[in-house]
């Protein structure tokens, strides 16, 4: 336990130290910078895995590691809390981080300045948002993450990037304002911003203040839903993700999940299903928003020709599915949704990474008049120097690429036998199981909503299959292989890593599902979290005598 306690803040500290090191190394020593960056992201993944392992080893409820910043006990100090949910998200972010860092080191990192430091800062913001136990700190980590993402989104420059970046920054600044308003209202009502403290005081809120509290929660949810790309707040996503460079887009997939994580964390803490007052506040709105997003995303996937647009709309589909699943509020559905979340993130990231290498399989002169995708792309001319000229050509590169694309498509569309199918099957099964329970309890989603969600999930899978099959036929059968693909080892390795992680999720589905189930059960009974955070005691310093309760007062 004590080792875990000191580990809990490492996922935030490690990228920060790496950023400092990378800034000292500077832009001129690229190889060294690349190695340091790779080592830091790998170390981050190892630390995240260790935290996950230690949290899980502590038994069914899982350990809840509380790190008190500057030794101030909650609710006065800022707490860093690593529990089952945080650990799962950290590992997911770490995997995507390693994949994108590896991919970027093949060439994209040289398309502009300070790619690696920005990547590390983004990872720090994401990890911090997953770990923090304080609402204002959540805001700060969101801003850290967003500030880095602005820089990364513009990486490589060019008119489309700047244009979509302008919209992206404007909407996020607006969301930050909403976030602050929500924080202020909650602080005004609760007198505290520590998540555990706010959760503990929830039943004590006077009836007259409850409306104000709900308004605060709605304002916070707006900010999170903008980040999670929920319809109609998601018009920024597709232009921003498709315009940004390939590894950045793959990394951004994690960022929408941060918004979803914040919703899940806050709603299970503040408005748990078992609460006497304001139980599952706004769940029907979240559910409806999720289903509408799912519709929007599925239609977008079907209507997309370009592979990067398909990937971007897949992000929206997974956001919608997850929000609706979290809003259902059942333990089983939540567990399946967490499994789906990890798989969907890995799969869409891999799909984004494939976008560019798949394009390289084709001869541009041959297809320019045939195909929309062969039109000179926004980023082509600017990135000429960044693209590897002639890398190590794999003799089987095209075949390998096609296979990777096939695996990716199976994962995104949720077809057997891979983890995408397992996630969807678990989700559908949980929804069907949940049907009779809802008929007994009409206050939650209701059987019609559940059936609608089942239909939408199945049809979104069908649409993704159609669209990805179309893209695959065009890229690999129609004119693929005409030009041998130039694939760098690092790029292939990055895609392979993400796909292998996803494959591991399928092979070890049983322990993974057991973990998500325990996480979901833990999330539905927030009392252990509250007790652990509020019960964490400051450690006695080396010089001062042990502090006892009496002398603190």
């Amino acid at each position: 336990m004590s080792a875990l306690l000191s580990l809990a803040v490492l996922p935030v500290v490690l990228p920060l130290v790496a950023t400092a090191a990378l800034l000292i190394i500077g832009e001129s020593r690229r190889r060294l910078g690349s190695i340091v960056n790779m080592a830091a992201t790998l170390a981050g993944l190892v630390v995240a895995t260790l935290i996950l392992w230690q949290v899980d080893a502590a038994g069914e409820a899982g350990a809840i590691a509380v790190y008190l910043t500057a030794n101030w006990p909650a609710p006065y100090g800022i707490t860093v809390v690593a529990d089952r949910l945080s650990a799962l998200m950290l590992v997911m972010a770490g995997l995507v981080g390693v994949g994108t860092a590896l991919y970027a080191s093949a060439g994209w990192s040289r398309a502009g300045s300070y790619f690696f430091p920005l990547l590390q800062i983004l990872l720090m913001g994401v990890n911090g948002a997953f770990l923090t136990g304080d609402l204002f700190n959540l805001f700060v980590f969101f801003e850290v993450m967003l500030a880095a993402s602005y820089g990364l989104q513009l990486h490589g420059s060019g008119a489309p990037r700047v244009q979509s970046g302008l919209h992206y920054i404007a909407i996020n600044l607006l969301a930050s304002s909403l976030f602050l308003i929500g924080l202020a209202v909650i602080y005004g009502v609760m007198g505290s911003l520590s998540m555990a403290d706010v959760a503990a005081r929830m039943p004590l809120v006077a009836e007259s203040d409850r409306g104000l509290l709900h308004i605060g929660a709605v304002m916070l949810a707006m900010a999170f839903l903008i980040k999670a790309a929920i319809w109609p707040l998601n018009a920024w996503l597709v232009p921003a993700y498709t315009a940004s460079s390939v590894p950045v887009a793959a990394l951004f997939v994690v960022m929408t999940k941060v918004g979803l994580y914040a919703i899940l964390r806050l709603w299970t803490l503040l408005f748990p299903a078992g609460a006497e007052v304001s139980a599952q506040f706004g769940a029907s709105f979240l559910f409806a928003g999720g289903l509408l997003t799912l519709c929007f995303g599925a239609l977008g996937v079907l209507a997309s020709i370009r592979l990067d647009r398909i990937a971007a709309f897949s992000v929206i589909v997974s956001s919608g599915t997850l929000l609706a699943a979290f809003a259902v509020g059942s333990i089983e559905v939540g567990s399946a949704a967490l499994f789906y979340l990890v798989n969907a993130t890995l799969a869409t990231s891999a799909l984004f990474l494939l976008v560019e290498v798949v394009k390289r399989t084709r001869s541009e002169t041959q297809t320019r008049h045939l195909d929309a995708e062969a039109l000179p792309d926004e980023d082509d001319n600017l990135d000429d120097n960044a693209l590897p000229l002639v890398g190590r050509a794999f003799p089987i590169s095209v075949a390998g690429l096609a296979l990777a694309f096939l695996v990716c498509a199976l994962l995104v569309a949720g077809l057997p036998p891979l983890a995408g199918f397992l996630a969807k099957a678990a989700l559908l099964q949980a929804l069907v199981h949940q049907l009779p329970a809802t008929e007994m309890n009409p206050s939650t989603i209701g059987p019609h909503g559940t059936w609608l969600m089942i239909v939408l999930i199945v049809s979104s899978g069908l649409f993704a299959t159609i669209s990805l099959a179309r893209a695959g036929i065009r890229h690999f059968w129609l004119k693929g292989g005409v030009l041998a693909s130039q694939l760098r080892a690092a790029e292939a390795g990055a895609v392979l890593l993400l796909l292998l992680a996803s494959l591991g999720l399928a092979v070890f589905a049983e322990p993974a599902l057991r973990y998500t189930q325990a996480t979901s059960r833990y999330l539905h009974a927030p009392q252990p979290y509250v007790d652990a955070v509020l019960g964490a005691r400051a450690r006695p310093g080396p010089a001062t005598p042990a502090i006892d309760e009496g002398s603190v007062r």
Partner: protein, 114 residues
Amino acid sequence: MEVVLALVIGVLGGAGVWLILRPRTFQVVMGLVLLSYAVNLFIFSMGSLVIDKPPIVTPGHAASLEHYSDPMPQALVLTAIVIGFATTALFLVVLLASRGFSGTDHVDGVRGDP
């Protein structure tokens, strides 16, 4: 004082939202700045609006908001101001870059109706 502050926040916020919905990038920046002023004042107002109350608990008085002014929102506002300042500065750079690429200051980069 409450009425004045509420009016100020309302006017700033309203003007900010209106400007954000305008088609010129500079107006959007001004709108975001005004909105952040409104938000900062709003956070500030959450820590009890009183004059001549120190932000510390004095001995002999109960630690309730009647006897002291809450220092927390001021600390929060300070953080929010710094972050807002930095992001607005970044936004200005992107605005100039967009102006350079498209030759117009329309938010969509195409010359629309003024």
